[in-house]
Symmetry: C2
Subunit: 448 residues, 2 copies
């Protein structure tokens, strides 16, 4: 830890002490620590109040605010095309072919090079996408809305493992399957959603944690719970038996089917905690394959970034670390709200996929309690006596303890066009958290 930083932390601590006695005198410089605590409490309380409901499926361009023709959304903090990594390039190429804007990779690259396509983060449009996260106007997206009303979040449709667009593959069969998913399967599931009671995604993932999921890389149970909820409705709304079978097969056959709607649910939850003046809680963590970035509740919409690291994990046959792209995707929105690696103690079987041991999975969750300010009232871990998952990452704690958040992740090939080559674990760089602490100190008038 740098001297400057230690000095700032000490000032924060003194301020906390000065405000002592449990007092919550917000705003006065002498009680800055207590004011931060109070702001963080408000932020996690707002997060806990969100009840995300699966509300439907729609064409992205029809529902995502600000998404217009000629624009593509992507995962992570903002990035200029020349800096885009292989998997993001691959997914952009695929999306432009999918949209009919390019006939092949060369045309797509040329379009991008000429700046004729706008790239904007999903996060700037109430959306999130796993891995490259590329979402184009004619793709289907899940709609998730807060039961309290008003806010909505969006995520695209998960294609499963392997050679898929979100990992940068764009071969014709990849796009054909994506089209069938977007144009046939997802709209039918949307009808099924509309044919009955809303699916409470917070309750769903809570139940899934009791069935060995962690809600990020392991969503087997959650996907089957979605199948349970929508399955009986599917034959009633399907045009024919084969269409019904295809939709049921998708929910049952893709163990990540529920990941994307869950991510949208997490986005709703995280955004509810964003924008609390003085709060030092992380309200987004995301990677674009080149940079890792965070947003902090009290620091407005700015991103604090650093180079994204390469995950440590298990590789599919024929691949190894030299093939791996730096970490990519918005799926860290799950860790941001206390799922994924933060809930890993609930999912010991995940180690066969991401590496490590069941003991280390428990250790991962236990460590995350060190850098968070609350325990989720909704997501509990049977193995830990039904303790709530660690929730509300405090940049003060991250910096003070030198413990960065743990992240479960997939691994993309570093070249465009290949796809997924493994899955593993990663720690983000400390830089953005240090920057965030400095910026918070500045904003709160501790240092100027």
């Amino acid at each position: 830890m740098s001297g400057v930083l230690r000095h700032e932390l000490q000032r924060c601590e003194r301020a906390t002490d000065a405000g002592g006695g449990g007092g919550r005198h917000v705003g006065a410089p002498s009680s800055t620590g207590a004011a931060i605590d109070e702001a963080n409490r408000v932020a996690v309380e707002r997060m806990a109040a969100v009840r995300p409901l699966l509300a439907g499926v729609a064409r992205a361009g029809d529902v995502i605010p600000g998404l217009r023709p000629g624009m593509l959304l992507h995962a992570g903090p903002p990035i200029e095309w020349p800096r885009a990594s292989g998997p993001l390039r691959g997914a952009v190429i695929g999306a432009l072919i999918y949209e009919g804007m390019a006939a092949d990779a060369a045309e797509a690259e040329a379009l991008m090079a000429r700046g004729e396509v706008t790239l904007e983060p999903c996060h700037h449009h109430s959306a999130v996408g796993p891995m490259a996260g590329v979402t184009s106007p004619s793709m289907a997206v899940w709609l998730v809305e807060d039961a309290a009303g008003g806010r909505c979040a969006y995520s695209n449709v998960n294609e499963g493992y392997g050679r898929v667009l979100r990992y940068g593959a764009y071969a014709p069969e990849v796009l054909d399957r994506l089209r069938r998913l977007n144009e046939e399967v997802a709209p039918l599931l949307g009808k099924a959603i509309g044919a009955g009671e809303a699916v409470d995604l917070r309750a769903l993932v809570g139940e899934a944690l009791h069935m060995g999921d962690e809600g990020h890389n392991r969503n087997r149970a959650g996907s089957l719970l979605l199948l349970r909820a929508l399955g009986p409705r599917v034959p009633r709304v399907a045009p024919d038996a084969e269409a019904a079978a295809a939709a049921l097969d998708y929910l049952g056959g893709n163990a990540l089917a529920v990941l994307n709607p869950l991510m949208a649910a997490c986005k709703l939850i995280a955004d509810a905690g964003h924008g609390v003046a003085g709060s030092t809680l992380v309200s987004a963590m995301a990677r674009n394959g080149t940079d890792f970035g965070i947003r902090v509740s009290g620091l407005g919409d700015r991103w604090l970034t650093a180079p994204s690291p390469v995950p440590d994990g298990l590789y599919f046959a024929g691949y190894g670390p030299a093939d791996a792209n730096p970490d990519i995707g918005d799926s860290t929105i799950t860790e941001t709200v206390g799922l994924g690696a933060f809930a890993m103690a609930a999912a010991p079987a995940i180690v066969t996929f991401v590496g490590g041991s069941p003991e280390e999975a428990v250790g991962a969750t236990l460590e995350m309690y060190e850098i968070t300010v609350a325990e989720s009232p909704h997501f509990t871990i049977p193995q830990l006596g039904f303790r709530g998952t660690p929730t509300g990452i405090d940049v003060r704690k991250v910096v003070e303890l030198g413990i960065t958040p743990r992240i479960n992740t997939g691994i993309a090939h570093r070249e465009a066009g290949v796809g997924q080559i493994g899955a593993g674990l990663v720690r983000p760089p400390m830089g953005p958290f240090v920057e965030a602490l400095k910026a918070s100190a500045t904003a709160l008038g501790i240092v100027g």
Copy 2:
């Protein structure tokens, strides 16, 4: 432990020592202990070799060997009508009304009192049934067959929780639902089974243990895995959308849907270990609501019994221990092969249903390693570093250590006609294990 028994055990131990050096000289009196070990090894090896496949659904009277009109099958060891407990009486009354042999409870009781209906254990007909286990000829049963060919086992269709026949309820709405299940839902599921690849139930429950099930009282994941396997086939074989929806709703809505086919699978596995001369392994544990009984591999088809104890558990609102019937059902066939309470470490969330703490759930499994001779190569527990579940209960170890098997169970009201009132944990009485040890010693010529 009695003096006689200790003496027998000591003789067994001396015999084991005498046979030492890993030698397997079967048959010689001096190596009786080693011969028992070898017989037990053969028995668990045969059990591990069984791969039970879900093969179909049929009318019980058409497929169960020896089941004829005027006969009812029931759970547990044999019992005469006058000794039948409330829930068994209720289920028998319901089955006779269901079969059209009686118009009401009084007529049914009269039929039974006159001895006009034969009661035989499911276990004597390659079948198993949870709780009362009453199976009549016109009910539907799941067919489970060994992939190695030849053998088949059967179990009736699970009705879910609460007021259901197997817990002794027989009101018109109970029988109406049972009829719809047996005549509409189950046959459609049978068609779905026939419309694709056989469902490997051993693999299914192995996966379910990684999703927080223990395969007896907690079958949430397993039932959803069955939904995953059969779901897409259902619309293809259903007469209409509503029938498809009903079948999908049954698999998704009944968290015990997979219990009965799993029990038949366990019966196939346990029976494979039965009949090994000299083996002291338990090949069946079952309760009829009055008696608890075991069969032992090397002791032929005799039952060793003692009064069935009342479970210790959690009760539904309005009920308590005074309302509980002694333990009942064939479902302990799951514990017999290393599932249920033996696999409880995999299912920490079950404690919300059966009582205890997650730590005690782990402790239950660890204790069962003490009284078993093997670890399952198919059923593993992520929480214990993927250790195989304890399998092959050795009556020698049970008696020597004074540790009876642990059992997860449901609790039936002691009166006919009420139904389920809770769920919990139970230990069988030591008596049958002691008797089995004595009988084994006699059979092996250790004592005469």
